[in-house]
Amino acid sequence: MDLELQDVFITFFRWFFGVLIGAGLALGWVLVSAKNRKLLSSSLFIYSFFRALPILGMSVLFARISISEMSKILLISWACFFPVVIATARGIMKEKDDLYRRISLLPSSTKVVYRHYLIPQAFVHFLSGVEISLGIGWLTVMAAEIIGTQNRGWNRGGLGELVYISIENGAWGVGIFGLVIFGLLGVASAWLWRRFSKYLWKVLFKSELPS
């Protein structure tokens, strides 16, 4: 089997859309449930349960349901959803520190609490959650791409499937080279995300992203 640039692109797009859907749904869900603190805190147990389910086991389950392109992306989304939702929810729930007490005493407290405290605090945690989920996305890609290896969306199995099949068939060179590419993609995506986070923070809050 030969490694082609197309395999890398296909894997990248699966990863990208998987992370995008997972992180987007997580942020949306936390914002919707932000006002209901009981729901938010009780659902943390549920997230912890689902987060602990092994990805390989989940990939078999997803393959049972569907072996389409969408099921590959949804498996990645599934894995990326939990780190983001847990980090962001904890960001919103961590509220009764001294600053929160202080701004709650202000005459215009509700506006200040939401605009200058809860939203930035949740966003800091959201950005950290996404950074973690980027790595989890790469970890999940291979499991996702092994789903229904005969049914190839975009006519290609992607880098994950290529690595799997190469190593299975003793083509070690291609397999290890594929793994190195995964590592490089992981480093590049984390680096780009950190730069993008700083830019996004500056645009949204007109200040430096807190370290």
Binding site: D97, D98, L99, R101, V112, H116, Y117, S207, L209, P210
Partner: protein, 235 residues
């Protein structure tokens, strides 16, 4: 009329009684320093007062009259994601309000700090910005926990002087938790002393009666501290 009144108040945290049967009050313009051994419940009482006022939580035995109150704890009191200026603006302090306090900016030595990011501020700088922001909000009462604990002595004395001047000019009441003898002796009208037996005794501060600011600073900078304070003062 008191701004805060504690009537038979028991300070209980997670089923542990810290202070019992407190009967205390603070009147407008009064400065009270609350001191005592570490871990006796001073900061917890201050937080509970803030919680009672802000969230109506744990307020059994606490009575607040209608007034503006501010709280400065030991940790973050300004937004850690903003510059000091952005923090002040977010708290509702505009440039016009700031210009009223130019003297205080000088006294607290904070003019150069406004455009610094939070992460670039030292502990003492954060404390000075926090107290300054609180004074700009013009509350009737400020609850402060260890306000100048991270400052060197000469700067601390300047800040104490600034705070005392404003509290007298504006009839601002202060409840300050502190172990600092400069704050306790120079700033307070009354001293609350928490004891290990879970009681709090109230003392009128007669220790420096009649001594004005310059005399106090002179007194503080004399004796065995004279040389070291003189050395620190040469910035």
């Amino acid at each position: 009329m008191s701004l805060i009144e504690l009537t038979n108040y028991n300070l209980v945290i997670e089923n542990t009684s810290l202070l019992e049967n407190l009967n205390l009050s603070i009147s407008p313009g009064e400065t009270v320093c609350f001191t005592g051994p570490s871990g006796v419940g001073k900061s917890t009482l201050l937080r509970n007062l803030a919680n009672a006022k802000a969230f109506s939580e744990g307020g059994l035995g606490i009575t607040f009259t209608e007034h503006k109150c501010d709280f400065l704890g030991q940790t973050e009191n300004i937004f850690p994601w903003y510059t000091a200026r952005q923090s002040l603006t977010s708290l509702g302090i505009n440039e016009q309000s700031l210009s009223k306090y130019n003297d205080l900016v000088e006294e607290f030595e904070i003019a150069a700090l406004f455009d610094k990011n939070y992460s670039m501020l030292s502990g003492g700088e954060k404390q000075r910005i926090s107290v300054f922001s609180s004074l700009c909000l013009e509350p009737d009462l400020i609850l402060i926990d260890e306000p100048f604990s991270a400052l060197d002595v000469p700067l601390k004395l300047k800040c104490i002087r600034g705070l005392k001047q404003i509290s007298k000019d504006r009839e601002l009441a202060l409840l300050i938790v502190s172990h600092d003898l400069d704050i306790i002796t120079y700033l307070s009208d009354y001293i609350w002393i928490a004891k290990q037996d879970k009681t709090v005794s109230v003392h009128k501060n007669d220790y420096i009666c009649g001594i004005d600011t310059d005399e106090f600073l002179e007194l503080r900078s004399s004796g065995i501290y004279k040389n070291i304070i003189a050395a620190i003062s040469h910035r």
